[in-house]
């Protein structure tokens, strides 16, 4: 929506931690690493990652960055660092998780929602247990393939949840909600995760992790 500008951009999240490594990226001051991140679980702010809404009555015909949209709503696909989530028959979202920011196609179905959404990554062993205290959604169905997504409330706030990885020792979930709820959401997740020693972490924890299939 706006060309890169000298005005600094801000994500909705502010962690009261000391950043150890910072990178300026498209106007955002992205924290790559905090001083005391601990050993997990981690809460990572990815709100600066590009996010687009795609709305069209003929959604299945659209191939964002060459990706094929999942057939049914509440399904998602991960390819080349993009997570493509089909929310309804007419509405999808594309989150760019890894790699350099792409150009959004200048076409009617696309709307840039990077600024409109909070995107958080939750990583660690106890993420399923932690999210059980926040969200009444069936996210951890072992029989369903990964990645998987659901739409539902987290702390009663409409959210999108996606699972990238699920194992007894390590899980990765992504949580997206409205920007205005971001700070409150992050604070409450940290509070909920106190028992598991959840701490904020920089983006690097997320980008360094994950199988090559993510990228």
């Amino acid at each position: 929506m706006n060309p890169p500008a000298p005005f600094p951009r801000q994500t909705p999240i502010f962690f009261d931690e000391t950043p150890a490594e910072i990178e300026d990226r498209e106007g955002f001051r992205v924290v790559l690493r905090y001083e005391h991140e601990g050993g997990g679980p981690f809460l990572i702010d990815l709100s600066h990652r590009p996010k687009w809404a795609i709305r069209d009555p003929h959604l299945s015909r659209i191939r964002p960055h060459g990706m094929v949209l999942p057939e049914s709503p509440e399904a998602c696909a991960l390819e080349n660092g993009f997570l493509l989530l089909r929310l309804t028959e007419y509405h999808a979202q594309l989150w760019q998780l890894f790699g350099p920011s792409p150009e959004m196609p200048n076409a009617f179905p696309y709307t840039d929602t990077t600024d409109g959404n909070t995107l958080l990554a939750l990583m660690g062993q106890d993420i399923p247990a932690l999210l059980e205290k926040a969200a009444p959604v069936d996210l951890w169905k072992p029989e369903q393939p990964l990645p998987r997504m659901v739409q539902g409330p987290v702390f009663d706030i409409p959210s999108i949840l996606a699972v990238l990885e699920q194992s007894p020792t390590h899980s990765i979930a992504l949580l997206a909600c409205g920007r205005s709820y971001g700070q409150s959401m992050a604070e409450n997740l940290i509070k909920t995760g106190e028992g598991w020693k959840m701490r904020p972490a920089g983006e690097r924890v997320f980008t360094n992790y994950g199988s090559p299939a993510f990228r």
Binding site: E132, P136, D156, R179
Partner: protein, 996 residues
């Protein structure tokens, strides 16, 4: 062995020498649930007491010699440990300041402060105990018929009754430090009950590959097998078998929740309550469980045996006595008499004898003798077994000192004892099934009230079905588990066939037994301990016509106490049938309703976190000293400088320039070939004539012509519009837009940009000058007129905004929209640039008054069902739709356009200058000989130097110059205040400042 003495009344009296804990406690190891090496000290009243790790509060107290735990609600009778399952209020105690904690099930923790309830002075000597002799004054339903006349004394009696009633006292200053939280659990199969049937069901389901959750109310699995020494199969005791099953559950992929009871079950969802504390991170937790199939394996409780003084401390159920000994290593008494109606009573009598307790006699109230092996075991131990005998009266004033046994033919026998183990048989725990919709009916085969049929996805297993054979109990669990897995799509046919075949080979449900009881007197034969309801009360209830369980429950209060009908529930239908000389088959038990067990109210609210919505400039406003207001979930700046009247803020907007955070505005992009059709449909004004660069202020009406929302629509380009709504209304407008266009075949899209776009409002006579200084574009009045919409590059093209010029507060006003991520930086830059112009931030309080001065409509305060857009004086915003169709609200406006006698919105100012010091109240009513309207919004305006406001009044009062009589709710009836109707707007009526 205890020495028996003679009492004055001839009954033997126990020497009070207790051996509370079993000396050779290690011999109990297989079933022992306490750790004797870990002592825990706590306080009971003023005393320091010690228990063991694994004790419940009640068992620790019992082990310390405490026999009276509370006093009853009505008759103030001493009450003791009766069951260990929380079935009555006998052991409700105040623990760590929290009243009504169930000491029977609450695990002991170090440093707990335990106090008895409903007691004056001491448990043993309570002066209010005289109430026990006042039973003649308190018949069934006494509160419905007594103390009503004379009516002047009714309040006096009510006050005293209320003071005397209730259990426990809440300290209003008490603040709980306990952690209450909530957990959402998703599963395929939910098994309720961790006994042998429940464990077998959970394992069978888990083997089928589905997700399984197992809930158990005790801190361990095992259920009824856990403490019993009976034989499961040759060489294997029941408790060995329960350990073996629990070990298998441990290794299976089953989620187990101990100390967890289901309090509600409905289609696909269960609510359970979990006790925490100790090493847990919570004290109480509400589990919200979503399942696809449920197995109820809650087993049986014991039916209370009815006899005179059956509530005396020292009378307890079989399970309670046996578990005290085998699980907690406590002698329930020194010398016991058993009066029982099931084989487990015989087993317990033999077992307790073997542990060293004297068993004086075992009376079996069944018509047929019990299991021959067990009878033989009693005979070997030289314990008298009295078939067809039962207890008819417990002796002793504050605790059991003896018992009278009775047989219809052979008469009476008296025994000295300090423990009377009493049980009339078993009763299935069908509450969880009942709340799923399963209707219970009398089953003559088992003598139980069991569901006639079960809803889909609901199964029952184990002793609840009437099975008593250990192998059959387990096999029924396996079958139920497989069926539940089958409900979830697992392939279980072969395994189920095999399991059913095994079950067929095992003994079926035990036949119902006739039991003999004496309920002739019933004056102090308690059916319900919690509410002090006796057989006599039930007889009175039947005599008054309340002769079935539901009305009798309400008339007498039986089953309405904290025990949720645990003690009276099984007896009530049976007893009422007997009192009216009918068969129990025609009687239904009372309806079970959630919560099935009591849970603290705080648990229901646990985990409910209200998230606030924050603007991107929240921290900057905080630094500027904002006071906050929560509006539609947004935390918005209400005022600054600690001045709720917002004088400086208003002064800045009227005299120089004010800046406001408008991020909470709803913002939508409506685009596509048919976008204008959508706008034409939902807005009452015309949208089709909007050209790029222009905007329009309009209203959304409902089907009755009432005003719902206001919005500004700006045209970005062909087929591309932005809609801006008032703060907090975005979601509602979006929903309205979708709902009123979804059945049209229109090609358009709506993108919600509420969160994506930040918004800053600059208003004031110097706003244009400031803006011009920031941009190279021409923003002069002709180039950027009122309701213009422009794309501007500000601050040497560092920031691009979409600017909308409005007149919201009656001054030159610019709403600047930019990406939300840039809003904080933009705010900082604008306020820095604005310093030279005397810019000041302003909040909602100032905005409300500024808009009122300009006569702007305050949606929801001024719009209501009785008035339309036209009544509100906004006809200029209505573009009549010639086709008469399509525009929501148009038809209603046409219909009401010519009507007279409607309410009208008017402006007014207070008549007297003295009103300056006494603000008029919003909501004051307009009166003459009747109510003629009400004040919608009123404020004192420093700009105008008078109190102004708007009101909805009857049409004949709407003419300017009319004098309004106003009445405020706290006035004397004859008092009035007066205002004059004046034309709107109050400020700048020719709009020179706004347009200039």
């Amino acid at each position: 062995m205890a020495i028996l003495l003679r009492n004055d009344n001839g009954f033997p009296k126990m020497k009070r020498r207790y051996r509370h804990r079993i000396a050779d406690i290690d011999s109990l190891r297989p079933t022992l649930r306490i750790d004797p090496s870990r002592r825990i000290s706590f306080r009971f009243g003023m005393r320091s007491v010690k228990g063991f790790h694994g004790d419940s509060v009640a068992t620790a107290l019992y082990g310390h010699g405490v026999r009276i735990f509370s006093r009853s609600i009505k008759f103030r009778r001493p009450r003791g440990l009766y069951s260990l399952n929380g079935e009555s209020a006998n052991c409700l105690m105040e623990i760590d300041g929290r009243p009504n904690e169930m000491a029977e099930t609450l695990l002991l923790e170090k440093g707990m402060r335990v106090r008895p309830q409903n007691v004056r002075f001491s448990l043993k000597r309570d002066p209010s105990g005289f109430m026990d002799r006042m039973d003649w004054a308190l018949p069934a339903g006494f509160y419905l018929s007594r103390f009503h006349k004379p009516s002047s004394l009714r309040p006096f009696f009510l006050k005293r009754i209320r003071r005397a009633a209730g259990i426990g006292r809440i300290d209003p200053d008490y603040r709980s430090e306990a952690v209450f939280d909530r957990q959402y659990i998703q599963t395929d199969v939910c098994v309720i009950g961790g006994g042998p049937a429940g464990m077998a069901a959970a394992m069978a389901a888990a083997e089928s590959g589905v997700r399984v959750v197992l809930l158990e109310s005790r801190p361990w699995l095992g259920g009824n097998f856990d403490h019993r020494t009976g034989e499961f199969e040759t060489g294997v005791n029941l408790h060995h078998r329960s350990r073996s099953l629990a070990d298998q559950v441990d290794t299976a992929s089953i989620r187990r929740f101990h100390q967890t009871v289901a309090i509600d079950l409905s289609e696909g969802a269960a609510v359970a309550f979990r006790m925490g504390g100790g090493e847990n991170l919570f004290d109480r937790r509400l589990l919200d469980i979503r399942y696809r199939s449920v197995v109820v394996a809650t087993g049986c409780t014991e039916r209370a045996l009815l006899f005179e003084h059956n509530d005396r401390p020292g009378v307890m159920q079989v399970d309670c006595a046996y578990r005290l000994a085998r699980s907690y290593g406590i002698f329930p008494g020194t010398a016991a008499v058993f009066s029982v109606g099931h084989d487990e009573g015989l087993e317990a009598a033999a077992g307790l004898h073997d542990l060293g307790m004297a068993v004086r006699a075992v009376a079996d109230c069944r018509a047929e003798p019990g299991d021959s092996k067990l009878v033989e075991a009693l005979s070997e131990r030289k314990i008298p077994y009295l078939s067809r005998w039962h207890a008819s009266e417990a002796k002793g004033k504050k605790r059991v000192e003896g018992v009278v046994l009775r047989d219809e033919k052979e008469g009476r026998q008296a025994f000295g004892c300090d423990l009377l183990v009493a049980s009339a048989g078993l009763s299935p725990v069908i509450g969880p099934l009942s709340v799923t919709g399963a209707e219970p009916a009398y089953d003559p085969e088992t003598g139980f009230y069991l569901p006639r049929s079960l809803p889909p996805g609901v199964h029952m297993a184990g002793r609840i079905t009437g099975l008593t054979h250990a192998g059959a109990v387990e096999a029924s669990g396996r079958s139920a588990g497989l069926r539940a897995a089958g409900d979830c799509g697992a392939s279980v046919e072969a395994a189920l066939q095999e399991s059913e075949a095994v079950l067929q080979t095992l003994p079926g449900p035990a036949g119902g037994k006739t039991i003999f009881l004496n309920i002739d007197k019933g004056k102090k034969t308690f059916v319900c301990f919690d509410m002090d309801v006796t057989v006599k009360h039930l007889r009175q209830s039947v005599d008054r016509g309340f002769d079935t369980p539901e009305p009798a429950k309400r008339f007498t209060g039986a089953g309405t106490g904290p025990g949720q009908g645990g003690i009276p529930g099984p007896n009530l239908p049976w007893l009422l049938a007997r009192l009216r000389e009918a068969s129990p088959e025609g009687t239904r038990p009372t309806t079970a309703r959630p919560p099935l067990v009591p849970a603290p109210l705080a648990v229901y609210g646990a985990g409910r976190i209200q998230l606030n919505r924050f603007s991107p400039v929240h921290s900057l406003l905080k630094e500027a000293g904002a006071a906050w207001d929560d509006s539609a979930g947004w935390r918005q700046a209400a005022y600054f400088d600690f001045d709720p009247a917002a004088r400086k803020e208003i002064e800045a907007v009227r005299g120089r320039i004010g800046i406001m955070d408008a991020a909470a505005q709803g913002k939508f992009r409506v685009f596509g070939p048919d976008a204008v059709q959508v706008l034409e449909r939902i807005f009452i004004g015309k949208s089709a004539d909007l050209t790029p660069g222009r905007a329009k202020h309009s209203f959304i009406c409902n089907e009755y012509g009432g005003v719902l929302y206001e919005a500004v629509t700006a045209c970005r380009g062909p087929e591309d519009y932005l809609v801006f709504t008032a703060p907090g209304m975005g979601k509602a407008v979006y929903r309205w837009m979708i709902d009123h266009s979804e059945n049209k075949d229109w090609d358009y899209r709506v993108a919600d940009l509420t969160e994506s776009l930040g918004a800053v409002r600059m208003a004031g006579p110097l706003a244009r000058e400031l803006l011009q200084g920031l941009t190279e574009s021409n923003v002069s009045n002709p180039a950027f007129p009122l309701m213009g919409f422009r794309r501007l590059r500000l601050m040497k093209e560092a920031l691009t905004v979409q600017a909308l010029r409005t007149g919201a507060v009656g001054e030159v006003t610019y709403d600047l929209y930019m990406p939300a991520s840039l809003m904080a930086a933009a705010w900082k830059a604008l306020t820095t640039a604005g310093e030279a112009f005397g810019m000041h931030p302003y909040g909602l309080k100032a905005d409300t008054l500024l808009r009122l001065e300009k006569g702007r409509l305050h949606i929801h305060r001024e719009s209501e069902n009785r008035v339309t857009l036209l009544d509100l004086g906004l006809e200029r915003h209505w573009r009549r739709n010639r086709s008469g169709a399509g525009k929501v609200g148009d038809a209603a406006l046409r219909h009401t356009a010519g009507q007279t006698g409607r309410m009208k919105r008017v402006g007014f100012r207070m008549e007297s200058a003295a009103d300056r010091d006494r603000p008029l109240q919003d909501g004051a009513i307009v009166v003459d000989d009747t109510i003629r309207g009400h004040v919608c919004l009123t404020r004192y305006s420093d700009t105008l130097g008078e109190q102004i406001g708007t009101a909805l009044v009857a049409e004949h009062l709407a003419e300017p110059g009319t004098r309004l009589n106003l009445f405020e709710h706290d006035m004397e009836p004859h008092q009035r205040r007066h205002a004059l109707v004046v034309p709107l707007p109050f400020y700048d009526p020719d709009h020179i400042r706004m347009k200039g």
